[in-house]
Amino acid sequence: MSARSCAALRQETAAGRITASDTVRAAVARAREVGAGREGLNVFVHRDDADALKQAGALGERLADTTPGALLGVPVAIKDNIATLTMPTTCGSRILEGYVSPYEATVVKRLREAGAIPIGKTNMDEFAMGSSTEHSAYGPTRNPIDHARVPGGSSGGSAVAVATGIVPIALGSETGGSVRQPAAFCGIVGVKPTYGRVSRFGLVAFASSLDQVGVFGATVDDAARGLGAVAGHDPMDSTSANIPVPEYQAGADAGVKDLVVGLPKEYFPASLDPEIRRLCDAAVERLRGLGATIREVSLPHTDLAIPVYYIVAPAEASSNLARFDGVRYGFRLEGEGLRGMYEATRSTGFGAEVTRRILLGTYVLSAGYYDAYYRKAQQARSLIADDFRRVFESGVHVLFTPTAPSTAFPIGAISDPYEMYLSDIFTATANLAGVPAMSLPIGRLGGLPVGGQLLAPHFDEARMFAAAYALERALGEEAHR
């Protein structure tokens, strides 16, 4: 875990007790240590240590003339599907080998404006399609607690960068749980904001109606400060909401006394691992002990989430990924004529999971199947969103659930695609409904972390953070043993 929090780094850098250059040097040294040898965790796919040190040096020179930014002197890691100017953006895919974006994602720009220093691009499932970070052209990332296990995915590299203390915060992206599930598997905090809360400009599109940039933090406070720095309206993203962003860290002492916490019964099925259930019950009792009102609720269409998600997301992906054809970006393989080149490039450049999802998406959108699959899924998606609306309108402020149905599984253990898709069973609903959600550690099973999930109404991240702060404080070290 990180020795220094975002708040401490900012304070000490602003006071001149440490320099951003020293902090970045320490982060780079830790990244080298974590990545070294055959058992290296494979966290980063690109790093430019010299440029990171140059940025840190420039920050030091500006310090006397400017107000310290919210993330002054904080080293950060960026998922490899978020556009950066000085490092390649490859989405963990061969098809974008060597691609350097001519523009920078709004979230990266905002991090730098806040005084943070991006130190590298992190490994991920190719085009964010996966739940284990095994499906990367750069090989799998390993779980820092047990190297034979996955870190979760698709933002596994970013999760491990935080869990190993290289950086206190990192950016990931969420389409169906790709920040919350790896946060749960690695024992850290992961936040998926409301759809529209954070700009998607510069986030390589996978499924545009579901994608959101998310934030990992070593603690709830780190995640709150990280989200605060990147959130807010951006005219470059037409789906970005023009709604004021509160100071999420203001919730640190808000408590949960007047909070109504809903427990959706569909997230606690009889088949749920009894030990995960026990840890969830213990966390709920903590919230009750702090004064929260606990109420059982129902989100009756929860069981449709995986079928809906795995129709909608591949359908959008099949369209979004059509642009990778060997003409405009990265990798090209010659074939017979133009069509032959397209087919050779795409079938060689994309990995097996991306190919499978493009074909699935093309199928559900094709003539004769559109009504049965895509239209039906979009209608069922409305039912899922209505479930959340009804529960929140009934007076429930936040929901609490397990983040994932299991702890981190061994690398290579899941070969059936649908079984892998079920890893997202408790997380995909938030993406389909667009509501904010976050995972935080609530304990361990056999030494492996378990995450608890909080969900809130649209744009009410502040209340979600207040509950998370209170729960994190109440659990203390119990959350990590």
Partner: protein, 102 residues
């Protein structure tokens, strides 16, 4: 609605993906397994339910049709393979004949 090998060949063609016979056969099985789980949707009563068109209720704002202020860090000629009259020229396919003005 079982997926057949012909369906897979058709959608692979639509998606511009070249598949070997071996891979196409495997995809038939994979898609049928995945889609069998989607059949749960057929049992849901969605009569009168609006399709989700996105998660934001406000719809998309429309800006003036004036060309976006796209903040490129480098000029086009710094990353285009080559430029002519403001247009990108991409590498010619090896199977296409060269012409003088290319």
């Amino acid at each position: 609605m079982a997926v057949t090998i012909d369906d897979v060949r058709h959608i692979a063609s639509l998606a511009r993906l070249g598949l070997s016979e071996h891979r196409a056969t495997a995809i038939v099985s994979e898609l049928n397994t995945i889609l069998s789980h989607m059949d749960a949707l057929a049992k849901v009563d969605t009569a009168g339910v609006q399709e989700a068109i996105g998660v934001g209720a406000e719809g998309l704002p429309v800006r003036a049709d004036a060309g976006p202020p796209f903040p490129l860090a480098r000029s086009h000629d710094a990353f285009a393979p080559s430029l002519r009259d403001g247009f990108f020229l991409v590498p010619r396919l090896s199977t296409h004949e060269s012409t003088e003005d290319s």
